[in-house]
Amino acid sequence: MVKRVFERPLSWIERIFFIDFIRGLSITIRHAFRRTITTHYPYEKLVPPKRFRGFFGHKVVDGKEPQPAFDEWVERFKIKVEVGKSRCVVCMLCKRACPVPQLFEIEGEKLPDGRRRVSVFNMNMMLCTFCGFCVDACPVDCLFQSDIHETASYTRRDAVLNLEILEKIGRDWQRRREEEPDRIWIDDKNRERLWYENSVKLPEVKR
């Protein structure tokens, strides 16, 4: 059975005195005198939340690797661990998890002392969908997604992230945001400007 639903028709009083017009006008005038909620983009920038899926990076070895997974993988592949260099153990799990695997170019090299390390790690961002499967797959918390979202480049070649750039992004991230509590909306002044009306108090995160 079809149920018929009509809109409530305007009463004559409402029609004659333009009550609905006045209601709309009152809303717009109230908004007109409130504070603006935009950021002046090229001059001011919002910090994205920590979980933001932006450009990729390689976290570097700094003694905070997930244990015992990191040591197990290092043991298995005889990886040469250097402080300040990528944590990558060349397990290729990121490439296997990727829906567009050809965007990864990963190679390891054998050093004269018999140990191994990653030598090539290229990610072609032209093909990437930023799904984050590779990040989930990474067993040593090496590959991650940063808050870098201004990714325009002049050539397609610049869209390929190599190991050097990935490590640089990783070092920068670990310096800036590694310690930050993981929440969707961080305590950012600029972001609060967007949300000041409901003034939601987020519960304190225990570290």
């Binding site: 017009f21 709309g24 717009t28 908004h31 007109a32 002046h40």
Partner: protein
């Protein structure tokens, strides 16, 4: 002979002042509109060029002037350019009969702050107003484009309906004043101690609606309808030729029609009116400048109200607009006319 030379000089000065003020203000109203729209949507609007974007109109004008002048294939070049002239000239000519203040004396010469006090001022305004339909129809036809033609036909349909309505709406104040001269209408309102809006609220509301329709403002902006037609009849125009149409239609025409509304309904340069008792002037300290300030204040408030409406309301459908004009507005103005004719002798006294 001397009188003639003085008259000529004064008239030339008036023409220059009016043209400069109208076109300059018209350009800066684009900034005002963008600011009002932005703040209603809680954005700051243009902020980069100059302090709070104060130089934005100049930057826009410079950009539009340096753009390439495109012309559509198989269009009619003569009509295409004629449409521009037909849009700009009548819209600015309307300001010839708008009185900005009372007559004053400077160096022993009596000057009326209006270009010409013709005794058929209001008639002239609406004659010029109906010229707008030609410019729009020509612009749509000459640019050889479907969207432009649809836009221009819609607009022409609206203007034809609302010309009738607006003419009958202003009939009320004209009857009460007993004259067609804009200067005398204001003078009559001051003599009778009565703004005509107190006796003609219906006519005022109808006038406002017709003004929105004639100038293509929301809720009657079907000729532009950026969601359906790209920008209506201006699609095929480029550069400053494109910039001129919105300037004329949205700013100069709205300005001139709000000035006419102030003259007809809100007592021109007179201060706040208490019906039949007198006038209350909170701006008395400005002395002889007070009437000019009052006129500018009223016109700008009316203009801001139009902007406010524009950024609040959605758009009506074309058939609803025509229906409102012929089935609601026109009978209302007839009723208003009869009512006015009955009470007019009381006002004349």
């Amino acid at each position: 002979m001397e009188g003639f030379v003085a008259w000529l000089i004064i008239t030339l000065i008036k023409i220059l002042v009016i043209l400069a003020v109208v076109l300059g203000v018209g350009a800066y109203l684009t900034l005002l509109e963008r600011k009002v729209a932005a703040h209603i949507q809680r954005r700051p609007g243009p902020m980069v060029v100059g302090w709070h974007g104060l130089l934005q109109p100049l930057a826009d004008g410079l950009k539009l002037l340096t753009k390439e002048d495109l012309f559509p294939r198989y269009g009619n070049k003569f009509l295409y350019n004629l449409a521009l002239v037909m849009a700009l000239v009548p819209a600015t000519l309307v300001f010839a009969v708008i009185p900005f203040g009372p007559e004053f004396e400077l160096f022993g010469i009596k000057i009326k702050p209006m270009l010409t006090d013709v005794n058929i001022g209001i008639l002239l305004v609406f004659a010029l107003g109906s010229m707008a339909v030609f410019s729009i129809a020509l612009a749509g036809w000459a640019s050889n484009s479907k969207y432009a033609l649809i836009g221009s036909m819609r607009k022409a349909g609206i203007i034809v309906s609302y010309e009738v309505v607006i003419t009958f709406a202003v009939m009320g104040p004209i009857i009460l004043a007993g004259t067609l001269s804009t200067y005398d209408i204001v003078q009559k309102q001051i003599d009778q101690k009565l703004w005509y809006i107190w006796l003609q609220p219906i006519a005022f509301v109808v006038y406002m609606f017709a003004m929105l329709a004639e100038t293509g403002r929301v809720p009657f902006d079907v000729q532009e309808a950026e969601a359906e037609l790209v920008t209506g009849f201006t699609v095929e125009y480029g550069g400053m030729k494109f910039g001129l149409f919105p300037l004329v239609e949205w700013y100069i025409e709205v300005l001139s029609l709000s000035a006419i509304a102030v003259v007809l309904f809100l007592g021109g340069w007179s201060p706040i009116n208490i019906p039949f008792l007198g006038f209350l002037d909170p701006l008395f300290f400005l002395g002889p400048l007070s009437p000019f300030v009052w006129f500018i204040l009223k016109v700008s408030l009316l203009f801001l109200f139009v902007l406010w409406l524009h950024w609040t309301l959605p758009r009506y459908r074309i058939d609803q607009i025509a229906e409102t004009a012929w089935k609601v507005m026109l009978p209302l103005t007839f009723v208003n006319l009869v009512f006015t004719a009955i009470i007019a002798p009381l006002i004349w006294r």
